[in-house]
Symmetry: C3
Subunit: 350 residues, 3 copies
């Protein structure tokens, strides 16, 4: 895909300074840009880069005053950062704009497929599966029996969705993620082994959710594991059966939420956090990476950390003192010695 | 699937109170049940729900005395909880009762396939692979050359089993799990890079094991990585080369077992635990989530925790004191001040 | 595959003691070997095993003096360990020596495929994808549009590589790994939800890299996430957008590197380590399993550990004192009591 400065200026409602026919085929940061790239300058701190960039075209604010010689073509707009974001999204949409059904793919005769859909080779749609309009199902995906996907859902390569799960509109699920695997439920027997507890519930994913690569979300024992609208999950996250993640909550990579736990809205959870089962986390909580959350958080909007949960400031203070423990221990021993001496002397005095 | 109260009562050897033709198509908890659901009441604590449930049919104990008006049909049985568990399992078995070979799939001419098997589209059976009876291989699975699966093995979508691995009877492996990838073995060279050490062993999985979604189990360097009978592994677990997990051991999500470590029987390991290589964990040990196990556990049946391994009660006590460290440090400083004063005074006294 | 003692001795330039026609079909450790196995003895500590092994053939050093009766055939060579390593590698190369294109597979008409390639069934090569010579692409792999693979690249079953990524020569990627998924980038809005920031960069993997099963490496927002030559990544690792991993660095399972962080060369990182974003880790650093790295490491070649980063020796010392905290707290309380008494007495004295 090639675009000229003129074409881009029309799109952005901007004005060109330089070569109207300057053309680009990719987007890049101003400090990394090569010939054939489009870049932008919004933050005055980076102005120096403008005079040395190899970008062919740079989008700048209308108000920018040029103080040195430049080699690139400029497009002046009201808001350079906003304009570049628009282009970034358009560029990506163009790149990912696949449609059509590649062969061989597998569509069960009872499956229902919407308009304007992409279905990659080796993708599988089970019995009574439903696909909304403008869905993109990449190669090697598995959509089980009776799964429902809304409109404009993207499943990247090799996503697996077990039977009966429900996915809303505008959901993006990255490669290798697994939705609806059995919850980890077993009943111990007297002989020391375990009987499987059938997991007959499902997973419900609401609108505008994004789920990272190789993340796993287990189906409920009965009822639903629920991912509310606007949730963003990073890669390699584990969500156990009957958990619920509140609207617009964001969870970083490799964190795990145990069974039946309810996370509130607008919670921010760092990477590698572990949260025990059957608790609830209040709205707006922020949890530091690697925290062990062993009890409910009831107060809204606070920051937390710790090997065992504690307020974040306390976590920082107390764990930095952990580093001083060898020295503190010595100081205690020193005190004990001195006091033993003092006592001896006092006894002598008496 | 629709069933009437009459049909279900025959199955459970129960008696119907209400509408013999009341019909259900799903199972649900009594407090979440909708019209068309079957539910159960076993725990007297939940009796109140019986009078308000929207379930169409509720299974109850023979002995239950109804004290208010009810809208649903009852089926009375000896043991309501047991009867419901039976139905749950039957329901699940019916749902998962797939057979037949979907096209296109790939079966190497030298592969051997048992009776009554399901092979999903885009599933792959390599040279000399063997499948027992009643196996269910979901779409996009990969069963490598010379892999042996016993009877009644279920591989959910996208499971990959490398060449030469052996899987017993009644094993369930969830979507995206990888069995038999190369162990992480490299020999450093003098020039600072690494030579790969060939990993020619395999993975052996015994009967009645369940393995979670996207879990990875590496093949042995030589010999076998072994998962003993009845083991239950949750999602996103890492089992390294030449490790052995003892019978009926249960491991929660995102834990990792390093190379050549031997876990005993009936061990319970929480989520996100890390266990170093070349150690052994005694039978019946219980290890708290996120523990760092850095040495062998020799005593059987104890509980453990800690950033560095320690008995669980000690872990709780000592890490709660970590939270008090800023205050304890102040108390030490206070003591030091007082003692300095006391000493001064004593010197004055002398 | 069957080989005789005579054939192996020719390959290794060794001499046979025993049955020239003794034949083996596999390799094993001397203490685990069965009939039909080839084994080796290099370390004199294991000499006892030689007199009891069930191996059919054992490779030994030229200089070894036999002191008891043996049942197996010997092959004497200059360096038994080195000779065995050669065989291990040859054996593995033979086993993994697949070529040809299985059907059905999907090769976009614009894709370019090198010589001597293996392409498994249900593997997918997107538009303008390029495959070098001697590549092995196992079943159910996805190679997106415009992806470039060098020579001698192995993708085990179900690897997914998103569009535009670049992979060097002699790279091995294990089953289920995901390369090039979107970085985790979202801009919060005033209404509490998030807008996706398009991730238009790629992943670049240099020569001689090995990547473990179900590991995920996100594409850069713009530019590249880079894995330098000789890097070895274990299973279930997360590498976030715009991160860079230096040459010959080794990372154990389940560790996570956050966005834009730069790891130096020859770093060794244990399992389940978490590293925050936008920092750098000096060349030759060694980081203990489960460490939380919350700031840059500037000094080269040091060892680190800790819940909050600290030098490794300090980590060991201070966390072992954490275990003593309940006792230390008592000692502080004891000191406080004694001092209160001492003070009282002093006041009485005055």
């Amino acid at each position: 895909m090639q675009f000229t400065a003129h074409e881009i200026s029309l799109l952005l409602n901007g004005t060109v300074e330089g070569d109207l026919n300057a053309s680009i085929s990719t987007l890049a940061k101003i400090e990394e840009a090569m010939d054939g790239s489009l870049s932008f300058l919004a933050n005055p701190k980076y102005e120096q880069f403008l005079y040395h960039t190899k970008a062919s075209i740079v989008i700048v604010n209308k108000t920018l005053i040029i103080t040195e010689k430049i080699d690139c073509t400029l497009i002046r707009v009201e808001d350079a950062y906003g304009a570049f974001s628009v282009l970034l999204e358009k560029y990506n949409t163009l790149k990912l704009n696949k449609t059509g059904i590649e062969q061989p793919s597998y569509i069960h005769p009872s499956a229902i497929v919407g308009q304007n859909v992409y279905l990659g080779a080796f993708a599988y749609l089970g019995a009574e599966a439903q696909l909304g309009n403008s869905c993109k199902i990449y190669p090697n995906c598995y959509v089980g029996d009776n799964v429902t996907l809304g409109n404009n859902v993207t499943l990247f390569a090799g996503v697996k969705i077990y039977a009966d799960c429900v996915v809303g509109n505008n959901v993006i699920i990255h490669a290798g993620a697994v939705i609806g695997s059995d919850g980890f439920g077993f009943a111990p027997t007297n002989s020391g082994n375990y009987n499987k507890i059938s997991q007959i519930g499902n997973v419900v994913i609401e609108d505008n959710v994004e789920i990272g690569a190789n993340t796993t979300i287990d189906r409920a024992t009965m009822g639903s594991t629920v991912i509310r609208k606007g949730v963003k999950l990073d890669n390699l996250i584990q969500i156990a059966h009957n958990a619920e993640v509140g609207a617009n909550t964001v969870i970083a990579a490799q964190s795990g939420i145990s069974g039946s736990t309810k996370i509130g809205e607008n919670v921010i959870i760092g990477g590698q956090v572990g949260i025990v089962g059957h608790i609830s986390i209040a709205k707006g909580s922020q949890i530091q990476a690697q925290t062990g959350v062993n009890k409910s958080i009831e107060e809204e909007g606070k920051k937390w950390g710790g090997v065992i949960l504690q307020p974040y400031q306390g976590f920082l203070r107390s764990h930095l003192i952990v580093h001083q423990l060898p020295e503190l221990k010595k100081r205690i021993e020193e005190l004990e010695k001195i006091i033993a001496e003092l006592r001896n002397k006092q006894e002598i005095i008496h």
